[in-house]
C-alpha cells in the first residue's frame, strides 16, 4: 500500500523525522487559507498523487487534454501565485514518468513552507532481498532520479545494513553520515534521522521509505523535503489505522473487488482473458499466449481456496474488460479439483451469458472428471491437454472471430 506525501510527512513528524510545516488541502480556497496560516513568504504547492516525478510532470485538462501547466510541484512567491497554481492543479490530470500516459487526476494538494536549501541528498530504506535485511541507502546527489545516479555515478551512493537481531550499529550510521560529507550539527541530525526512520520502518511495517530530496538547510538542519512511504500489505492486521490512509481514487477498483473474492487480478492491455490457479502458472499462461502471437488481457490467480462463487466473480471481472475476445482457463489441480472448476465454469458461463470463445485446460487432481463434465455439458467449450495447446487454440479462435 502506498500513501501520499502529506500522509507520509505526518508519520515522519510523529516519528521524530524533521519536516517543514505544511497543510493538506482539497480546494483552492483551502490552499489560500493554508498560505495565510503558514505565514511563509515562499511556499511549495505540491500535487499529491501516488507516483514519482511530480516536479517534472505536466498537467492536462482531463476532458480536452489541453495542456494546463508544466510542473506538478510549484514554488509560489505570493498569494496570487498560490491561487494560480492551485487552480491549475486541482481536478486536472498529472502525467509523470511514473504514471503512464493516462496520468492521474490530482484531488489533493499539499502547501508547504519554504526552506532555504544548501544541499540536496537522497535517502531510502528498503528490504534488501540478497542480505535479507533492511538496507539504508543514501546519496549526495539528491533531487534527481536515483536510477540515473546508480547508472552514472555509483560511487555517490552509500549503503549500510541493519542487523535483523542487533539493529543499526551506531558506528555504521556515523560512517554513513561521514560518507555523505556531513559535519557538526548536520551530522548529528542525520544520525538522528536515520535512526528515527529505521525505528519507523520497523514500527509501521514499511516496505520502503524514500526521501528525495532530503535537504541540508542553510542553517545546517537536515529536513525531509519529500516523502514516499509504502507499507507491507501482509502486516495490515497489526495496523488497523492504515485503513484511514487509503485513497480509493488511487487504487484500481477492480483489483480491490477481485481481492474480496480471494482473487489476485491485474489488468493488462491484451485481448485474451486468463483464469489460472497459482501466481507462477498465471504468469506462465500470459507468457505462452504471447508466444503464440496474442497478448494477455490480465493476470488472474484464483488461489488455492477458489469456490464456485469466486470463479463466477473471476469470469465477471475478466469480461468487464471490453478488450477481451476470448478466455483461457488453465488449471493444474492440486488442492483445487478440476471437476469443481468444471462445474463452476459451466455455471459462471451461463450466469454471465458468455459470448466469447472459451478454452479450458485441466491437469492434475480430477482432470479426467473435469473434462468429462465439460464435454457432457451444452457449453460451447474447447479443451486442451497442455498449456501450449490451450494457448494456441484460444489465439486461433479469437483471430477467426475478429
Amino acid at each position: 500500500m502506498n500513501i501520499h506525501e502529506y500522509q507520509a510527512k505526518a508519520i515522519f513528524s510523529d516519528s521524530g523525522v524533521k519536516v517543514v510545516k505544511g497543510i493538506h488541502c482539497i480546494s483552492v480556497e483551502e490552499a489560500l487559507q493554508a498560505y495565510d496560516e503558514l505565514e511563509s513568504d515562499i511556499v511549495a504547492v505540491k500535487s499529491q498523487i501516488h507516483a514519482g516525478g511530480r516536479g517534472k510532470g505536466i498537467l492536462y485538462d482531463p476532458i480536452t487534454d489541453d495542456l494546463i501547466m508544466e510542473g506538478g510541484v510549484k514554488i509560489a512567491f505570493s498569494r496570487e501565485e498560490v491561487k494560480e497554481y492551485a487552480t491549475s492543479i486541482i481536478g486536472n490530470k498529472l502525467v509523470t514518468k511514473q504514471t503512464g500516459k493516462d496520468g492521474k487526476i490530482v484531488n489533493n494538494l499539499y502547501i508547504e513552507s519554504g526552506c532555504k536549501i544548501s544541499h540536496e541528498y537522497y535517502l531510502a530504506l528498503l528490504i534488501d532481498r540478497e542480505t535479507k535485511s533492511v538496507l539504508i541507502m543514501g546519496s549526495t546527489e539528491g533531487g534527481v532520479d536515483i536510477e540515473e545516479v546508480a547508472e552514472n555515478t555509483p560511487e555517490a551512493i552509500h549503503k549500510i545494513w541493519a542487523d535483523p537481531l542487533e539493529g543499526l550499529a551506531n558506528e555504521d550510521v556515523q560512517m554513513f553520515a561521514d560518507l555523505l560529507g556531513l559535519e557538526g550539527q548536520s551530522k548529528n541530525e542525520m544520525f538522528e534521522m536515520v535512526n528515527s526512520l529505521y525505528a519507523m520502518f520497523l514500527d509501521k511495517d514499511c516496505s520502503m521509505i524514500e526521501i528525495n530530496p532530503l535537504v541540508r538547510s542553510e542553517e545546517g538542519e537536515i529536513i525531509a523535503l519529500d516523502g514516499k512511504v509504502s507499507f507491507d500489505d501482509s502486516a495490515d492486521f497489526r495496523h488497523p489505522w492504515r485503513g484511514d490512509l487509503v485513497d480509493l481514487t488511487e487504487e484500481e477498483e477492480v483489483e480491490i473487488r477481485a481481492n474480496e473474492y480471494g482473487l489476485s487480478y491485474v489488468k493488462l492491455d491484451g485481448n485474451i482473458g486468463c483464469l489460472v490457479n497459482g501466481a507462477g502458472l498465471a504468469m506462465a499462461s500470459m507468457d505462452v499466449i504471447k508466444l503464440y502471437g496474442s497478448e494477455p488481457a490480465n493476470f488472474l490467480d484464483i488461489g488455492g481456496g477458489a469456490t464456485r462463487e469466486s470463479i463466477t466473480a473471476a469470469f465477471e471481472i475478466i469480461l468487464e474488460d471490453e478488450n477481451v475476445e476470448g478466455i483461457l482457463v488453465n488449471i493444474f489441480g492440486g488442492i483445487i479439483q478440476c471437476d469443481m472448476v468444471a462445474n463452476s465454469v459451466i455455471e459462471a458461463s451461463k450466469e454471465v451469458a458468455l459470448s466469447v470463445p472459451l478454452v479450458v485446460r485441466f491437469s492434475g487432481t480430477n482432470h479426467i472428471e473435469g473434462m468429462e463434465i465439460l464435454n457432457n455439458s451444452d457449453l460451447d467449450v474447447h479443451t486442451a491437454n497442455t498449456l501450449a495447446e490451450g494457448a494456441e487454440k484460444i489465439v486461433n479462435l479469437t483471430r477467426r472471430s475478429s
Binding site: Q98, I127, R129, E130, K132, S133, V134, E147, D163, P164, L165, L202, D205, S207, D232, S234, A235, F237, R238, S264, V266, L268, V276, N277, G278, A279, G280, L281, A282, M283, A284, M286, D287, V288, I289, K290, L291, E295, P296, F299, D301, G304, F332, G333, G334, I335, S363, G364, T365, T386, L387, A388, E389
Partner: protein, 306 residues
Amino acid sequence: MSIWVDENSKVLIQGITGNQGRFHGTRMIDYETNVVGGVTPGKGGQKLDFSGKEIPVYDSMQEAIKKTGANVSVIYVPARFASSAIIEAANAFQEGGGGLIVCITEGIPILDMVNAVANVEKCPDVRLIGPNCPGIITPRENGGCKVGIMPGFIHAKGRIGIVSKSGTLTYEAVAQTMSVGEGQSTCVGIGGDPVNGTGFIDCLSAFEDDEQTEAVVLIGEIGGTAEEEAAEWASENMSKPIVGFVAGSTAPAGKRMGHAGAIISGGKGTAEEKFAAFEKAGIYVARDPSEIGNVLIKALKEAGIR
C-alpha cells in the same frame, strides 16, 4: 538418495489441529509420509486420527522432538503466528540434533521473515524452506515423503531434481518430466516471497552432490536477482545439466503479480535478464513451460545420459 527428505524423515506438523493442518496432514500420511506428531500450543496431550493413524499432539516443538525424534517440521500456522513457529522450530531442532523446517504459510509480514531468517541462520544445523511455498517431496516406488501441499500422485521416483519459486508451475514442471518418461529425485518449492530461507543455490548445490539426481529443472519468476545469481553459481559449480524457465515475460513493470516477490522494480528483475543469465551460464532454456520436457530430453542426450 535424494535431498533433505526421504523415507527416514520423521515429520511433525505445526498447526496440526487447524483446518490446513488436518487437510494436508491426511494427504501427507496417505502418501506414506512418516508423520510422527503435531504441535499446537495449548492442545497437547490429545491424539488425532489421520487416515486411521493415531497422531499425538504436543504443546511445544521442544517436547515433540524429544518424544518423537522428529527431524522435519511442516508449518500450516496462520501468517500472523508463522514467524514465531519458525523460530520455535529452529531453536528446538538446534537443541535436538538439527532438522528441516518447511513453511507453507502465505502472507507472512516481510519484517517477520527478516527476523525469522536471521534466527534460523543462528542455528547451523537447521534449514528453512519457504515460506509461501508448496513444500518438498521425494517420491519413492510407492508414495514417498511429501512435506507440503503438492498433489502426490503426479510424481514418480526418478533422476530429475526440480526447484521452483512457484507452486502450480512446479506441478507443471513435474508433469513435463513425466511426459518424457522421467521421474523426480526431489522437488523443492522455495516460495515466492522476497525474503525466504533456502534459495536456488542451496538446492542446486544439494542436487549436484546427490547421486540420484542427474539433471535439474529450475523454475524462476520475475523479481529480485536470485535466478541470475543461481545461473552464475551453476556455471562454475554444476556438472549436471539444468533446464530453466522464468515466468513473467509479459508482466508489466511495477505491478506485483500475485506473489509478494514477483515485481519488476526500477527496471530490475525482468524475465529477459534472467533468461539471458541462464543462456550465458549454459543452462538449457525453455521459453514455454510446455517445452520443458523436450528441452530436458535434449539436455539429457547432450550429456550422454539418455
